[in-house]
Protein backbone atom coordinates (compact mmCIF):
# COMPACT_ATOMS: atom_id res chain seq x y z
CA UNK A 1 0.00 0.00 0.00
CA UNK A 2 1.06 3.53 -0.79
CA UNK A 3 1.13 5.76 2.30
CA UNK A 4 0.13 9.42 2.19
CA UNK A 5 1.17 10.00 5.78
CA UNK A 6 3.51 8.01 7.99
CA UNK A 7 3.78 8.74 11.66
CA UNK A 8 6.83 7.53 13.55
CA UNK A 9 7.06 7.61 17.34
CA UNK A 10 4.87 10.67 17.75
CA UNK A 11 4.79 11.80 21.36
CA UNK A 12 2.75 14.77 22.47
CA UNK A 13 2.40 16.19 25.93
CA UNK A 14 0.47 19.11 27.36
CA UNK A 15 2.02 20.71 30.43
CA UNK A 16 4.26 17.63 30.68
CA UNK A 17 1.21 15.39 30.80
CA UNK A 18 1.62 12.75 28.05
CA UNK A 19 -1.38 12.73 25.69
CA UNK A 20 -0.01 10.76 22.74
CA UNK A 21 2.51 8.05 23.54
CA UNK A 22 4.80 6.78 20.84
CA UNK A 23 2.19 6.71 18.12
CA UNK A 24 3.34 5.07 14.90
CA UNK A 25 1.00 4.44 12.02
CA UNK A 26 0.57 4.69 8.28
CA UNK A 27 -2.28 6.38 6.52
CA UNK A 28 -2.80 4.84 3.07
CA UNK A 29 -3.41 7.02 0.01
CA UNK A 30 -6.96 7.25 -1.32
CA UNK A 31 -8.40 5.14 1.45
CA UNK A 32 -10.51 5.84 4.49
CA UNK A 33 -8.51 5.38 7.67
CA UNK A 34 -10.74 5.23 10.71
CA UNK A 35 -9.39 6.14 14.12
CA UNK A 36 -11.37 4.45 16.80
CA UNK A 37 -11.23 4.59 20.56
CA UNK A 38 -12.95 5.59 23.76
CA UNK A 39 -13.51 9.21 24.75
CA UNK A 40 -10.37 11.05 25.83
CA UNK A 41 -7.93 8.59 24.27
CA UNK A 42 -6.37 11.28 22.03
CA UNK A 43 -8.14 10.83 18.70
CA UNK A 44 -8.82 14.53 18.20
CA UNK A 45 -5.31 15.41 19.34
CA UNK A 46 -3.78 12.95 16.87
CA UNK A 47 -5.93 14.32 14.05
CA UNK A 48 -5.02 17.91 14.84
CA UNK A 49 -1.35 17.12 15.04
CA UNK A 50 -1.54 16.11 11.38
CA UNK A 51 -2.15 19.69 10.26
CA UNK A 52 -0.29 21.22 13.17
CA UNK A 53 -3.35 22.67 14.87
CA UNK A 54 -1.85 21.23 18.04
CA UNK A 55 0.61 24.13 17.82
CA UNK A 56 -2.16 26.30 19.28
CA UNK A 57 -2.35 24.42 22.58
CA UNK A 58 -0.62 26.18 25.48
CA UNK A 59 2.14 24.08 27.00
CA UNK A 60 2.31 21.56 24.16
CA UNK A 61 5.44 19.57 23.33
CA UNK A 62 5.77 17.25 20.39
CA UNK A 63 8.44 14.87 19.22
CA UNK A 64 8.72 12.21 16.58
CA UNK A 65 8.03 12.39 12.87
CA UNK A 66 5.00 12.99 10.72
CA UNK A 67 5.91 12.36 7.11
CA UNK A 68 3.58 13.90 4.56
CA UNK A 69 4.54 12.51 1.15
CA UNK A 70 7.85 11.61 2.73
CA UNK A 71 8.59 15.06 4.15
CA UNK A 72 8.64 15.59 7.90
CA UNK A 73 6.17 18.33 8.79
CA UNK A 74 7.12 18.48 12.46
CA UNK A 75 10.61 19.89 12.14
CA UNK A 76 9.70 23.53 12.14
CA UNK A 77 10.93 24.91 8.84
CA UNK A 78 7.76 24.11 6.94
CA UNK A 79 5.23 26.55 5.59
CA UNK A 80 2.23 25.89 7.81
CA UNK A 81 -0.21 27.54 5.41
CA UNK A 82 0.98 25.14 2.72
CA UNK A 83 0.61 22.09 4.94
CA UNK A 84 -2.81 23.10 6.12
CA UNK A 85 -4.08 23.80 2.63
CA UNK A 86 -3.29 20.21 1.76
CA UNK A 87 -5.69 19.02 4.45
CA UNK A 88 -9.33 19.94 4.70
CA UNK A 89 -10.66 19.76 8.26
CA UNK A 90 -14.21 18.80 9.09
CA UNK A 91 -14.78 19.40 12.77
CA UNK A 92 -17.16 17.80 15.22
CA UNK A 93 -19.62 20.60 14.64
CA UNK A 94 -19.71 23.06 11.76
CA UNK A 95 -18.09 26.47 12.11
CA UNK A 96 -19.34 28.52 9.16
CA UNK A 97 -17.32 31.67 8.50
CA UNK A 98 -19.18 34.89 9.36
CA UNK A 99 -20.09 35.66 5.76
CA UNK A 100 -22.57 34.49 3.18
CA UNK A 101 -22.81 31.01 1.69
CA UNK A 102 -21.09 31.98 -1.55
CA UNK A 103 -18.20 33.64 0.27
CA UNK A 104 -17.80 30.70 2.60
CA UNK A 105 -17.01 28.50 -0.37
CA UNK A 106 -14.80 31.02 -2.13
CA UNK A 107 -12.92 32.17 0.98
CA UNK A 108 -10.05 29.73 0.63
CA UNK A 109 -9.69 30.55 -3.05
CA UNK A 110 -9.83 34.30 -2.52
CA UNK A 111 -7.13 34.31 0.13
CA UNK A 112 -4.87 32.43 -2.22
CA UNK A 113 -5.39 35.14 -4.80
CA UNK A 114 -7.96 33.61 -7.15
CA UNK A 115 -10.54 36.31 -7.74
CA UNK A 116 -11.89 35.75 -11.23
CA UNK A 117 -15.63 36.00 -10.83
CA UNK A 118 -16.61 33.36 -13.39
CA UNK A 119 -14.04 30.93 -12.03
CA UNK A 120 -15.34 31.40 -8.49
CA UNK A 121 -18.97 30.99 -9.51
CA UNK A 122 -18.17 27.75 -11.28
CA UNK A 123 -16.32 26.49 -8.25
CA UNK A 124 -19.16 27.34 -5.91
CA UNK A 125 -21.63 25.43 -8.02
CA UNK A 126 -19.26 22.51 -8.48
CA UNK A 127 -18.50 22.00 -4.81
CA UNK A 128 -22.02 22.66 -3.58
CA UNK A 129 -23.24 20.02 -6.02
CA UNK A 130 -20.53 17.69 -4.83
CA UNK A 131 -21.94 17.77 -1.28
CA UNK A 132 -25.57 17.70 -2.43
CA UNK A 133 -26.25 21.19 -1.18
CA UNK A 134 -26.66 23.06 -4.45
CA UNK A 135 -30.39 22.51 -4.91
CA UNK A 136 -31.11 23.60 -1.36
CA UNK A 137 -29.15 26.86 -1.45
CA UNK A 138 -28.80 27.92 -5.08
CA UNK A 139 -31.40 30.67 -4.67
CA UNK A 140 -29.94 32.07 -1.50
CA UNK A 141 -26.21 32.11 -1.96
CA UNK A 142 -26.11 35.61 -0.51
CA UNK A 143 -27.68 34.55 2.79
CA UNK A 144 -25.45 34.27 5.85
CA UNK A 145 -24.17 30.74 6.25
CA UNK A 146 -25.30 30.71 9.85
CA UNK A 147 -28.90 30.71 8.62
CA UNK A 148 -28.52 27.14 7.36
CA UNK A 149 -29.46 24.10 9.42
CA UNK A 150 -26.64 22.29 11.24
CA UNK A 151 -26.68 19.46 8.71
CA UNK A 152 -26.51 21.93 5.82
CA UNK A 153 -23.75 23.85 7.59
CA UNK A 154 -21.71 20.68 7.96
CA UNK A 155 -22.05 19.96 4.25
CA UNK A 156 -21.15 23.59 3.53
CA UNK A 157 -18.02 23.18 5.65
CA UNK A 158 -17.12 20.07 3.69
CA UNK A 159 -17.59 21.92 0.41
CA UNK A 160 -15.58 24.86 1.73
CA UNK A 161 -12.75 22.53 2.65
CA UNK A 162 -12.84 20.75 -0.69
CA UNK A 163 -12.81 24.03 -2.59
CA UNK A 164 -9.21 24.74 -1.60
CA UNK A 165 -8.32 21.49 -3.34
CA UNK A 166 -6.78 19.50 -0.50
CA UNK A 167 -5.25 16.07 -0.85
CA UNK A 168 -6.38 14.86 2.53
CA UNK A 169 -9.63 15.18 4.46
CA UNK A 170 -9.41 15.16 8.23
CA UNK A 171 -12.80 14.51 9.79
CA UNK A 172 -13.37 14.56 13.54
CA UNK A 173 -16.64 12.81 14.34
CA UNK A 174 -18.20 14.73 11.45
CA UNK A 175 -21.64 13.26 11.95
CA UNK A 176 -21.91 13.51 15.71
CA UNK A 177 -24.04 16.64 15.69
CA UNK A 178 -26.13 15.58 12.70
CA UNK A 179 -29.47 13.89 12.21
CA UNK A 180 -29.49 10.40 10.63
CA UNK A 181 -30.25 11.67 7.13
CA UNK A 182 -27.49 14.29 7.13
CA UNK A 183 -25.14 11.70 8.61
CA UNK A 184 -25.92 9.30 5.82
CA UNK A 185 -25.29 12.01 3.23
CA UNK A 186 -21.88 12.73 4.70
CA UNK A 187 -21.00 9.05 4.91
CA UNK A 188 -21.99 8.45 1.29
CA UNK A 189 -19.97 11.49 0.23
CA UNK A 190 -16.90 10.16 1.96
CA UNK A 191 -17.20 6.81 0.22
CA UNK A 192 -17.37 8.63 -3.11
CA UNK A 193 -14.58 11.04 -2.25
CA UNK A 194 -12.03 8.47 -1.30
CA UNK A 195 -11.14 7.82 -4.90
CA UNK A 196 -9.68 11.31 -5.04
CA UNK A 197 -8.76 12.04 -1.44
CA UNK A 198 -7.02 10.41 1.47
CA UNK A 199 -9.50 10.45 4.32
CA UNK A 200 -8.83 10.21 8.04
CA UNK A 201 -12.04 9.72 9.98
CA UNK A 202 -12.32 9.86 13.75
CA UNK A 203 -15.39 8.23 15.13
CA UNK A 204 -16.58 6.29 18.10
CA UNK A 205 -19.58 4.87 16.32
CA UNK A 206 -18.56 1.26 15.71
CA UNK A 207 -21.10 0.66 13.00
CA UNK A 208 -19.94 3.76 11.14
CA UNK A 209 -16.39 2.49 11.38
CA UNK A 210 -17.43 -0.86 9.92
CA UNK A 211 -19.29 0.79 7.07
CA UNK A 212 -16.53 3.19 6.14
CA UNK A 213 -13.13 1.83 7.02
CA UNK A 214 -10.45 0.57 4.67
CA UNK A 215 -7.96 0.68 7.49
CA UNK A 216 -8.65 0.86 11.22
CA UNK A 217 -6.57 2.26 14.05
CA UNK A 218 -7.63 1.54 17.60
CA UNK A 219 -6.39 3.89 20.31
CA UNK A 220 -6.55 3.64 24.05
CA UNK A 221 -5.13 6.09 26.62
CA UNK A 222 -2.94 7.87 24.09
CA UNK A 223 -1.49 4.74 22.55
CA UNK A 224 -2.20 2.91 19.34
CA UNK A 225 -3.17 -0.52 20.59
CA UNK A 226 -3.87 -2.19 17.30
CA UNK A 227 -4.15 -1.33 13.63
CA UNK A 228 -5.08 -3.25 10.52
CA UNK A 229 -7.69 -3.90 7.89
CA UNK A 230 -11.30 -3.93 9.07
CA UNK A 231 -11.34 -7.66 8.67
CA UNK A 232 -8.31 -8.12 10.88
CA UNK A 233 -9.39 -5.69 13.52
CA UNK A 234 -13.12 -6.26 13.74
CA UNK A 235 -13.24 -9.98 13.15
CA UNK A 236 -10.02 -11.05 14.69
CA UNK A 237 -8.76 -8.53 17.26
CA UNK A 238 -5.50 -9.54 18.88
CA UNK A 239 -5.35 -7.34 21.93
CA UNK A 240 -7.65 -7.92 24.94
CA UNK A 241 -8.47 -4.18 25.22
CA UNK A 242 -9.58 -4.09 21.59
CA UNK A 243 -11.71 -7.16 22.17
CA UNK A 244 -13.50 -5.73 25.15
CA UNK A 245 -13.99 -2.37 23.38
CA UNK A 246 -15.47 -4.03 20.32
CA UNK A 247 -17.76 -6.14 22.43
CA UNK A 248 -19.12 -2.94 23.96
CA UNK A 249 -17.71 -3.30 27.45
CA UNK A 250 -16.65 0.39 27.51
CA UNK A 251 -17.00 3.43 25.30
Amino acid sequence: MNNKISIHNLCLSIDRQPILKNVSLNIPTNKITVILGPSGCGKTTLLKSLNRLTDLIPGVQQSGEILLDGVNILNGNQDLVDIRQKMGLLAQRPYPLPMNIYKNITYGLRISGRRNRQFLEKRVEHYLKMVNLWDEVKDRLKDPASALSIGQQQRLCLARGLAVDPEIILADEPTSSLDPISSKLIEEKFLELKSQYTIVLVTHILRQARRMADYVVFMYLGEVIEQGTPDELFNNPQHPVTKSYLSGQFY
Binding site: P58, V81, R84, Y95, G108, I111, G161, V164
Partner: protein
Protein backbone atom coordinates in the same frame (compact mmCIF):
# COMPACT_ATOMS: atom_id res chain seq x y z
CA UNK B 1 -30.92 32.99 65.56
CA UNK B 2 -32.05 30.34 63.18
CA UNK B 3 -33.65 31.55 60.01
CA UNK B 4 -35.35 29.03 57.89
CA UNK B 5 -34.47 29.18 54.20
CA UNK B 6 -37.78 30.67 53.24
CA UNK B 7 -37.50 33.74 55.44
CA UNK B 8 -33.89 34.06 54.45
CA UNK B 9 -34.75 34.06 50.79
CA UNK B 10 -37.53 36.52 51.35
CA UNK B 11 -35.21 38.82 53.30
CA UNK B 12 -32.62 38.92 50.53
CA UNK B 13 -35.24 39.35 47.88
CA UNK B 14 -36.62 42.39 49.65
CA UNK B 15 -33.09 43.71 50.14
CA UNK B 16 -32.30 43.36 46.45
CA UNK B 17 -35.57 44.93 45.49
CA UNK B 18 -34.96 47.93 47.77
CA UNK B 19 -31.41 48.52 46.55
CA UNK B 20 -32.58 48.32 42.95
CA UNK B 21 -35.32 50.85 43.66
CA UNK B 22 -32.78 53.06 45.40
CA UNK B 23 -30.29 53.05 42.52
CA UNK B 24 -32.93 53.57 39.87
CA UNK B 25 -34.37 56.37 42.01
CA UNK B 26 -31.02 58.13 42.30
CA UNK B 27 -30.44 57.83 38.58
CA UNK B 28 -33.88 59.24 37.82
CA UNK B 29 -33.30 62.06 40.30
CA UNK B 30 -30.07 63.03 38.56
CA UNK B 31 -31.62 62.98 35.14
CA UNK B 32 -34.77 64.82 36.22
CA UNK B 33 -32.97 67.54 38.16
CA UNK B 34 -30.57 68.19 35.28
CA UNK B 35 -33.45 68.28 32.82
CA UNK B 36 -35.49 70.48 35.15
CA UNK B 37 -32.76 73.08 35.24
CA UNK B 38 -31.46 72.56 31.74
CA UNK B 39 -34.48 72.08 29.50
CA UNK B 40 -35.88 75.63 29.94
CA UNK B 41 -32.57 77.12 28.83
CA UNK B 42 -32.24 74.83 25.82
CA UNK B 43 -33.21 77.34 23.18
CA UNK B 44 -32.28 77.40 19.52
CA UNK B 45 -29.78 80.19 20.17
CA UNK B 46 -28.30 78.21 23.04
CA UNK B 47 -27.54 75.28 20.74
CA UNK B 48 -26.42 77.25 17.73
CA UNK B 49 -24.30 80.12 18.94
CA UNK B 50 -21.05 80.62 20.78
CA UNK B 51 -20.83 82.69 24.00
CA UNK B 52 -20.68 86.45 23.44
CA UNK B 53 -18.52 88.65 25.68
CA UNK B 54 -16.55 85.77 27.21
CA UNK B 55 -17.94 82.53 28.55
CA UNK B 56 -17.52 83.56 32.17
CA UNK B 57 -19.16 87.01 32.02
CA UNK B 58 -21.06 87.33 28.76
CA UNK B 59 -24.79 86.94 29.16
CA UNK B 60 -25.45 86.36 25.48
CA UNK B 61 -24.81 83.38 23.28
CA UNK B 62 -24.86 79.61 23.69
CA UNK B 63 -22.80 76.50 23.95
CA UNK B 64 -22.09 75.60 20.34
CA UNK B 65 -18.36 75.93 21.06
CA UNK B 66 -18.60 73.20 23.71
CA UNK B 67 -20.84 70.91 21.67
CA UNK B 68 -18.65 71.05 18.57
CA UNK B 69 -15.46 70.90 20.66
CA UNK B 70 -16.64 67.83 22.54
CA UNK B 71 -17.67 66.07 19.35
CA UNK B 72 -14.33 66.85 17.67
CA UNK B 73 -12.45 65.72 20.73
CA UNK B 74 -14.37 62.52 21.31
CA UNK B 75 -14.42 61.53 17.66
CA UNK B 76 -10.69 62.12 17.39
CA UNK B 77 -9.87 60.31 20.63
CA UNK B 78 -12.17 57.38 19.85
CA UNK B 79 -10.69 57.05 16.38
CA UNK B 80 -7.15 57.11 17.75
CA UNK B 81 -7.99 54.67 20.54
CA UNK B 82 -9.61 52.33 18.02
CA UNK B 83 -6.60 52.42 15.73
CA UNK B 84 -4.43 51.49 18.69
CA UNK B 85 -6.77 49.21 20.61
CA UNK B 86 -8.28 47.10 17.85
CA UNK B 87 -4.98 45.54 16.70
CA UNK B 88 -3.95 44.96 20.32
CA UNK B 89 -7.14 43.04 21.04
CA UNK B 90 -6.75 41.05 17.81
CA UNK B 91 -3.14 40.30 18.64
CA UNK B 92 -4.16 38.96 22.04
CA UNK B 93 -6.86 36.71 20.65
CA UNK B 94 -5.46 35.54 17.32
CA UNK B 95 -1.69 35.60 17.65
CA UNK B 96 -1.18 34.85 21.33
CA UNK B 97 -3.62 31.92 21.63
CA UNK B 98 -0.81 29.69 22.74
CA UNK B 99 0.38 32.07 25.44
CA UNK B 100 -2.46 32.02 27.85
CA UNK B 101 -0.68 33.47 30.86
CA UNK B 102 0.80 36.30 28.81
CA UNK B 103 -2.66 37.23 27.55
CA UNK B 104 -4.00 37.17 31.09
CA UNK B 105 -1.15 39.42 32.21
CA UNK B 106 -1.99 41.88 29.41
CA UNK B 107 -5.66 41.80 30.43
CA UNK B 108 -4.64 42.56 33.99
CA UNK B 109 -2.53 45.53 32.92
CA UNK B 110 -5.39 47.02 30.91
CA UNK B 111 -7.81 46.43 33.77
CA UNK B 112 -5.48 48.36 36.06
CA UNK B 113 -5.16 51.14 33.48
CA UNK B 114 -8.95 51.20 33.15
CA UNK B 115 -9.13 51.88 36.88
CA UNK B 116 -6.63 54.76 36.89
CA UNK B 117 -8.53 58.04 37.50
CA UNK B 118 -8.74 60.27 34.46
CA UNK B 119 -7.09 63.19 36.27
CA UNK B 120 -3.91 61.11 36.29
CA UNK B 121 -4.10 60.81 32.52
CA UNK B 122 -4.71 64.56 32.41
CA UNK B 123 -1.63 65.20 34.53
CA UNK B 124 0.41 62.82 32.39
CA UNK B 125 -0.74 64.59 29.24
CA UNK B 126 0.15 67.91 30.79
CA UNK B 127 3.67 66.76 31.73
CA UNK B 128 4.12 65.47 28.21
CA UNK B 129 2.95 68.81 26.78
CA UNK B 130 5.33 70.78 28.96
CA UNK B 131 8.13 68.46 27.97
CA UNK B 132 7.38 68.89 24.28
CA UNK B 133 6.58 72.58 24.60
CA UNK B 134 3.05 72.21 23.25
CA UNK B 135 0.17 74.48 24.25
CA UNK B 136 -3.21 73.25 25.39
CA UNK B 137 -4.91 72.23 22.19
CA UNK B 138 -7.44 69.93 20.60
CA UNK B 139 -4.60 67.64 19.54
CA UNK B 140 -3.15 67.39 23.04
CA UNK B 141 -6.63 66.67 24.37
CA UNK B 142 -7.30 64.01 21.74
CA UNK B 143 -4.05 62.24 22.56
CA UNK B 144 -4.63 62.38 26.32
CA UNK B 145 -8.24 61.23 26.13
CA UNK B 146 -7.32 58.46 23.72
CA UNK B 147 -4.76 57.15 26.22
CA UNK B 148 -7.50 57.26 28.82
CA UNK B 149 -9.95 55.24 26.71
CA UNK B 150 -7.54 52.77 25.08
CA UNK B 151 -7.91 50.33 28.02
CA UNK B 152 -11.69 50.46 27.66
CA UNK B 153 -11.44 49.93 23.92
CA UNK B 154 -8.99 47.03 24.23
CA UNK B 155 -10.84 45.20 26.97
CA UNK B 156 -14.27 45.66 25.42
CA UNK B 157 -13.11 44.40 22.00
CA UNK B 158 -11.10 41.67 23.73
CA UNK B 159 -14.20 40.44 25.55
CA UNK B 160 -16.08 40.01 22.30
CA UNK B 161 -13.14 38.39 20.50
CA UNK B 162 -12.69 36.05 23.45
CA UNK B 163 -16.09 34.57 22.80
CA UNK B 164 -15.24 33.62 19.21
CA UNK B 165 -15.10 29.82 19.34
CA UNK B 166 -11.73 28.11 19.07
CA UNK B 167 -13.20 25.87 16.38
CA UNK B 168 -13.64 28.84 14.07
CA UNK B 169 -9.96 29.72 14.44
CA UNK B 170 -9.03 26.11 13.70
CA UNK B 171 -11.35 25.95 10.70
CA UNK B 172 -9.95 29.16 9.29
CA UNK B 173 -6.36 28.01 9.80
CA UNK B 174 -7.21 24.73 8.09
CA UNK B 175 -8.35 26.64 5.04
CA UNK B 176 -4.87 28.08 4.79
CA UNK B 177 -5.51 31.51 6.29
CA UNK B 178 -2.73 33.54 7.76
CA UNK B 179 -3.22 35.10 11.17
CA UNK B 180 -3.81 38.54 9.75
CA UNK B 181 -6.49 37.25 7.37
CA UNK B 182 -8.13 35.57 10.32
CA UNK B 183 -7.89 38.76 12.36
CA UNK B 184 -9.45 41.13 9.89
CA UNK B 185 -11.65 38.93 7.73
CA UNK B 186 -13.01 36.51 10.29
CA UNK B 187 -12.56 37.49 13.92
CA UNK B 188 -13.41 41.14 13.39
CA UNK B 189 -16.47 40.19 11.41
CA UNK B 190 -17.57 37.57 13.91
CA UNK B 191 -17.17 40.08 16.74
CA UNK B 192 -18.47 43.02 14.72
CA UNK B 193 -21.28 43.99 17.06
CA UNK B 194 -19.00 43.73 20.06
CA UNK B 195 -16.55 46.06 18.33
CA UNK B 196 -19.29 48.61 17.63
CA UNK B 197 -20.33 48.41 21.27
CA UNK B 198 -16.72 48.95 22.34
CA UNK B 199 -16.48 52.04 20.15
CA UNK B 200 -19.69 53.49 21.56
CA UNK B 201 -18.63 52.72 25.11
CA UNK B 202 -15.29 54.45 24.58
CA UNK B 203 -16.94 57.41 22.89
CA UNK B 204 -19.30 57.75 25.85
CA UNK B 205 -16.40 57.79 28.27
CA UNK B 206 -14.44 60.25 26.15
CA UNK B 207 -17.23 62.78 25.82
CA UNK B 208 -18.13 62.78 29.50
CA UNK B 209 -14.74 63.20 31.08
CA UNK B 210 -13.63 66.57 32.44
CA UNK B 211 -10.41 65.82 34.29
CA UNK B 212 -8.41 64.55 31.33
CA UNK B 213 -9.17 67.62 29.23
CA UNK B 214 -8.77 70.21 31.98
CA UNK B 215 -5.06 70.91 31.43
CA UNK B 216 -4.72 69.53 27.96
CA UNK B 217 -7.49 70.98 25.82
CA UNK B 218 -7.97 74.30 27.58
CA UNK B 219 -11.16 76.28 27.10
CA UNK B 220 -12.22 78.92 24.63
CA UNK B 221 -15.27 80.68 23.26
CA UNK B 222 -14.28 79.91 19.71
CA UNK B 223 -14.87 76.84 17.66
CA UNK B 224 -11.45 75.42 16.85
CA UNK B 225 -10.44 75.47 13.21
CA UNK B 226 -7.26 73.49 13.63
CA UNK B 227 -5.97 70.69 15.83
CA UNK B 228 -3.45 73.05 17.37
CA UNK B 229 -6.03 75.44 18.79
CA UNK B 230 -7.55 74.98 22.23
CA UNK B 231 -11.16 73.90 22.37
CA UNK B 232 -14.18 74.05 24.65
CA UNK B 233 -15.77 70.82 25.83
CA UNK B 234 -19.13 70.05 27.43
CA UNK B 235 -17.84 68.80 30.80
CA UNK B 236 -15.66 71.90 31.21
CA UNK B 237 -18.49 74.07 30.00
CA UNK B 238 -20.42 72.84 33.03
CA UNK B 239 -17.41 73.13 35.32
CA UNK B 240 -16.47 76.71 34.44
CA UNK B 241 -19.90 78.25 33.94
CA UNK B 242 -21.77 76.73 36.87
CA UNK B 243 -19.56 78.61 39.32
CA UNK B 244 -20.48 81.98 37.79
CA UNK B 245 -22.68 84.32 39.83
CA UNK B 246 -24.46 85.37 36.65
CA UNK B 247 -27.63 83.42 36.00
CA UNK B 248 -27.43 83.54 32.20
CA UNK B 249 -23.98 81.99 32.44
CA UNK B 250 -25.22 79.28 34.80
CA UNK B 251 -27.96 78.53 32.29
CA UNK B 252 -25.28 77.66 29.79
CA UNK B 253 -23.86 75.15 32.27
CA UNK B 254 -27.23 73.50 32.76
CA UNK B 255 -27.84 73.44 29.02
CA UNK B 256 -24.46 71.76 28.57
CA UNK B 257 -25.32 69.18 31.20
CA UNK B 258 -28.59 68.46 29.45
CA UNK B 259 -26.91 68.02 26.08
CA UNK B 260 -24.19 65.86 27.60
CA UNK B 261 -26.55 63.62 29.52
CA UNK B 262 -28.74 63.16 26.44
CA UNK B 263 -25.77 62.19 24.33
CA UNK B 264 -24.51 59.72 26.89
CA UNK B 265 -27.99 58.24 27.28
CA UNK B 266 -28.42 57.84 23.54
CA UNK B 267 -24.99 56.21 23.26
CA UNK B 268 -25.69 53.81 26.12
CA UNK B 269 -29.06 52.85 24.70
CA UNK B 270 -27.53 52.39 21.27
CA UNK B 271 -24.80 50.11 22.59
CA UNK B 272 -27.35 48.20 24.64
CA UNK B 273 -29.50 47.78 21.58
CA UNK B 274 -26.59 46.53 19.50
CA UNK B 275 -25.39 44.30 22.31
CA UNK B 276 -28.82 42.70 22.62
CA UNK B 277 -29.13 42.09 18.92
CA UNK B 278 -26.03 39.94 19.12
CA UNK B 279 -27.83 37.27 21.15
Amino acid sequence: MIMNTKTEEKFFRVLMFLSTIFIVGVLLLIVVSVLYKGLPSLSFTMLTSIPKGGFYFGEEGGILNAIIGSIYLSLGATFLAFIIGWPIALYMNVYLVKHHSLVNAIRFVFDVLWGVPSIVYGAFGFILMVFLGVRASLLAGIITVSLFIVPIMVRAIDESLKSVPRGLLESALSLGSTRSEISYRIFSREAFQGIITAILLSFGRAIGDAASVLFTTGYTDRIPTSLLEPSATLPLSIFFQLSSPIEAVQDRAYASATVLISMVLVISLLSRFIGNRRN
